[in-house]
Amino acid sequence: MITLKINGLEVKTEEGQTILDVAKFYGLEIPTLCYNEGLSRYGGCRLCLVEIGEEPKTKLVSSCTYPAEEGLVVRTDTKRVIEARKMMIELMLSVAPGSKIIQDLASKFGVKQVRFKIRNEECILCGLCVRMCAEQMDGRAIGFQNRGYKRKISTPFDTRSEECRLCGGCIYVCPACQLRCQGPDADTAVCNACLTMDPTCLDFHDELQCWMYDVGRCGTCIREKTEESNNKKRTQKSKQKEKNA
């Protein structure tokens, strides 16, 4: 048995588990994209970043690949983690703005702008399809090619592969090319349409996650918001009355 601390909570786990496994077991939410239970770990999307170690020597690691160690101190919702996560979402959004999954993530984490050139490439190189093909379908029909900015996923020689059985597993797991964002501003920038449909706390708890662990549903922040605006109106009215008098 290993004992470690996640968000100040002392948790126990067995050897060989990753931080993500432990957090999931204890019900702590860590967002993921390139992680899939049935596939090997890749650590490519960097959404599952957590901060480990104690101040001032902390570092960010991907929780889906980092093994749980004895005495490890993990924090999943520090400012640094959330900022890094937002940046990753922003970068992925600039590559594949048409993806519903990525637009949803942007809404959920309050990413409201994309400061990078929109590229519409519809592939974020998460490698899910490659792993799906090789590990679950035993196909090995697609893989990574080239490197750097030319890196892409394709079949050998970009033609129909002899190994491919057209099972469609690669499309099934793809977060970028299958589900399309249906919002009004999809394909251009941050859509955030889903964001306005739901009451959320994002205006009030932008930097840190909601302390109620149930973002927006409790309605506290909306009440706060309306009360605040009411108060403002009231003070404005009283000021106007004073002026008139």
């Binding site: 090789a134 090995r140 893989g143 090619q145 490197r147 050998p156 592969s161 190994e163």
Partner: protein, 155 residues
């Protein structure tokens, strides 16, 4: 084609059919054909038991390998930081004009391939141009024509 197959197989048996020798085998193929033909890669894949896509991944990762036929002579222009500052892009343009091909292409007669490289590690003598393994230091636009003439006069 059978003779070709035997030749490729001989490269593979030279390394005891070991998977870890993939890059060495690809290097031999590249040297022999001047590129990696599709058929040969398929033979290598079968003989070593490595999925074809993984071999393609390796072959496209390294600049030393090419999936398209390269020219007889390889001209590499350095565009690293030091060479870039000293006018590397202009020299590349001059080569493109003289050979009538773009960077990364091979001339129609299959004589020349023009490529760029990020740094060759000899920034002190930049801008550098490498022609078939011979280094040419401190190239200027004027020198481009004479270098080409000098190099390919013999033929």
């Amino acid at each position: 084609m059978e003779a070709e197959e035997l030749k490729v197989k001989s490269y593979i048996t030279k390394y005891n059919n070991e998977k870890k020798a993939l890059i060495s085998i690809l290097q031999e193929v590249q040297e022999e054909y001047n590129y990696l033909p599709q058929e040969v890669l398929k033979i290598v894949s079968k003989a070593l038991g490595i999925p074809l896509i993984d071999i393609i991944g390796v072959a496209t990762f390294y600049r030393a390998f090419s999936l398209e036929p390269r020219g007889k002579h390889l001209i590499t222009v350095c565009l690293g930081t030091a060479c870039h500052v000293r006018g590397g892009p202009k020299i590349l343009e001059e080569f493109e004009r003289k050979l009538n091909i773009d960077a990364g292409e091979t001339s129609k007669d299959g004589q020349f391939s023009l490529e760029t490289v990020a740094c060759l590690g000899c920034c002190a003598i930049g801008p550098v141009v490498v022609i078939d393994g011979d280094y040419h230091a401190q190239i200027t636009i004027r020198k481009v024509g004479s270098i080409l003439k000098k190099h390919f006069k013999k033929e």
